[in-house]
């Protein structure tokens, strides 16, 4: 064959950036291989981060009480993991996060659907949703205490006000971008009113809704971290309270240890969202693009 001929073979590989773009359904790496290729970049990133941190500490840039090294922090994390304080706090905080997020979910989904499709509500409240989203949690504290006293509901109130607008915005965005042809098809096959939502609009908007839920989760969690200081029940320690007190007591290693715990929780939750998103993308047939 002539030299200016481009060959694509089943076994050959393409070089350059396009190699990333190409679908690679043929490659069927082993389960172990896939696990490894999903894991090593994480390990590498972690090692890199720890390495840089350790080097910075070794340079003596800051005093050890201002910037503790990885060894100090990890050993503090180790002993932290052995305390019941962490697990009790985690249990309290996780329960609050779950309940608060669930409430935000209901409020956000309903508001979002209503605002997206009812014109008067949209004109009245549409812009308000983003405005509410920008309101910092502490501004709501007085109202939360007024309404719910020093009960856990006050915390949920702050969490819902933090997360629901974000979820609603995700829903509105999703509904706005449902391809009109699908709505027409749905109406044509007899989906009217609630059925149109249930069978067409909601599933079509699902990807954007999941994205909104992810953002909503972040808002919920951050609001919770602040809100947990609102009602500190002496017998119930919580991650939010521990974070703030670690900072107030200038316990740098503990503060970083709690940050690591928060990151790990974030990673776990993200992987749940990631799995949901991947399942949706596989169904929709948009998964292969980036090959992952």
């Amino acid at each position: 064959m002539a030299s200016d001929t481009l060959a694509r073979t089943g076994s050959g590989t393409l070089s350059g950036l396009d190699a990333l773009d190409l679908a690679t359904q043929e490659k069927a790496p082993s389960r172990l291989g896939r696990l490894w290729s999903a894991t090593w970049p994480k390990i590498a990133a972690l090692a890199l981060a720890l390495g840089i941190w350790q080097i910075v500490v070794w340079t003596g840039w800051k005093e050890p009480w201002a910037l503790p090294g990885p060894v100090t922090v990890l050993s503090d994390l180790g002993s932290y993991l052995l305390t019941s304080a962490l697990w009790d706090g985690l249990a309290t905080t996780a329960r609050r996060a779950a309940v608060g997020f669930a409430a935000a979910l209901v409020v956000g989904l309903l508001t979002g659907l209503a605002v997206a499709r009812i014109r008067v509500l949209r004109a009245a409240l549409g812009s308000m949703i983003t405005a509410l989203q920008t309101m910092p949690s502490i501004a709501w504290f007085p109202l939360a205490i007024l309404l719910f006293q020093l009960s856990e509901q006050a915390i949920f109130f702050v969490v819902v006000l933090g997360a629901a607008p974000s979820i609603a915005n995700g829903v509105i965005h999703g509904v706005d971008y449902v391809p009109p042809i699908l709505i027409r098809a749905g109406r044509n096959i007899g989906a009217r009113g609630l059925n149109l939502y249930r069978y067409v609009i909601a599933p079509a908007a699902l990807p954007a809704i999941v994205a909104g839920l992810k953002q909503g989760w972040a808002f919920a969690w951050r609001s919770l971290m602040a809100g947990e200081l609102l009602v500190v029940i002496a017998t119930k320690t919580s991650i939010g309270a521990q974070l703030t007190y670690a900072r107030e007591l200038s316990e740098a290693p503990r503060l970083i240890a709690i940050m690591i715990v928060i990151l790990v929780i974030g990673l776990l939750v993200d992987s749940a969202f990631g799995a949901a998103d991947k399942a949706i993308r596989r169904r929709w047939g948009v998964l292969d693009q980036a090959g992952n």
Binding site: I181, L182, R184, A185, G186, R187, N188, I189, G190, A191, R192, N195, Y199, V200, P203, A204, L206, I280, R283, W284, G285
Partner: protein
């Protein structure tokens, strides 16, 4: 220039268009897609609509299906609200549902029991030669296969009026011939009224009781002919060819006048 084709006034037409006009957009950007179209489809009648690309055929079907409102004139469909099922020009399948679930959805929306739904879906998928593909998702199908799923979904509707927008455009001749037979069978069994858009004049002659020609921008009815060939017909028969030739001639004059 606006000609009107109506059935004898004694019968209530299944579909009645009365001076229907449709304008897209506003102001300088406005497009007059349909201009005073009046057309009756009798119950049980099979009407084919032909016309140049962009002349307003899809627009007309959308109006009859109630997915859009006319800018002027009246559209009447006999029966209750959901009485005209439309097969869109694009497949318009729901990407989050399997092929079987796509076909099942209209049945589910009508509240059919589960067992019956399953049976009907299997039957419909067999009708369009996709019996083994029920578990796939739309993105795993070829273009022609998607079109056939859309056909099955529309047939699942069981509406007395069927609107079809180039339903066989992406199919090879053989598959199409088979589906012509199937459609004719279903049409006569269910006594459907059909409004069928096609670019294939032979297909129109093969299927229609009446062929209607639309002019290009704005869409007006410029020609209408009855096809009196007895059924069953064959697409490669001489009678079908003769009718097709006649319509093609008319179309040629029309496009010749408007094209470039």
């Amino acid at each position: 220039m606006t000609s009107t084709t109506t059935t004898p006034s004694s019968v209530t037409p299944a579909v009645a268009l009365d001076g229907v006009t449709k304008v897209y957009g506003r102001g300088a950007q406005a497009v007059l897609a349909l201009d005073g179209v009046s057309l009756d489809v009798a119950p049980g009648e099979f009407v084919c609509l032909v016309g140049a690309s962009g002349c307003g055929k899809s627009t007309l079907l959308n109006l009859v299906a109630g997915l859009d409102r006319p800018s002027g004139g009246q559209v009447r469909v006999a029966g209750s609200e959901q009485s005209a099922g439309l097969m869109f020009q694009e497949p318009a399948l729901f990407p989050w549902l399997t092929v079987a679930a796509n076909v099942e959805l209209p049945l589910r929306l009508r509240g059919l029991p589960r067992a019956e739904r399953k049976e009907r879906v299997a039957e419909l998928l067999r009708t369009v030669h996709l019996g083994e593909f029920g578990g796939r998702r739309p993105h795993e199908l070829s273009g022609g296969m998607r079109q056939r799923v859309a056909l099955a979904r529309t047939l699942a509707l069981d509406t007395p009026v069927l609107l079809m927008d180039e339903p066989f455009g992406a199919l090879d001749a053989m598959t199409r011939d088979i589906l012509h037979d199937e459609l004719e069978r279903i049409w006569s069994e269910r006594q459907l009224s059909v409004l069928f858009v096609t670019h294939n004049v032979r297909e129109a002659a093969r299927l229609a009781d009446r062929i209607i020609l639309l002019s290009s921008r704005p869409g007006r009815i410029i020609y209408s002919t009855r096809v009196d060939i007895p059924r069953p017909r064959r697409i490669d028969s001489a009678e079908v060819a003769a009718i097709a030739a006649e319509v093609t001639d008319r179309l040629r004059t029309e496009v010749g006048r408007h094209g470039q």
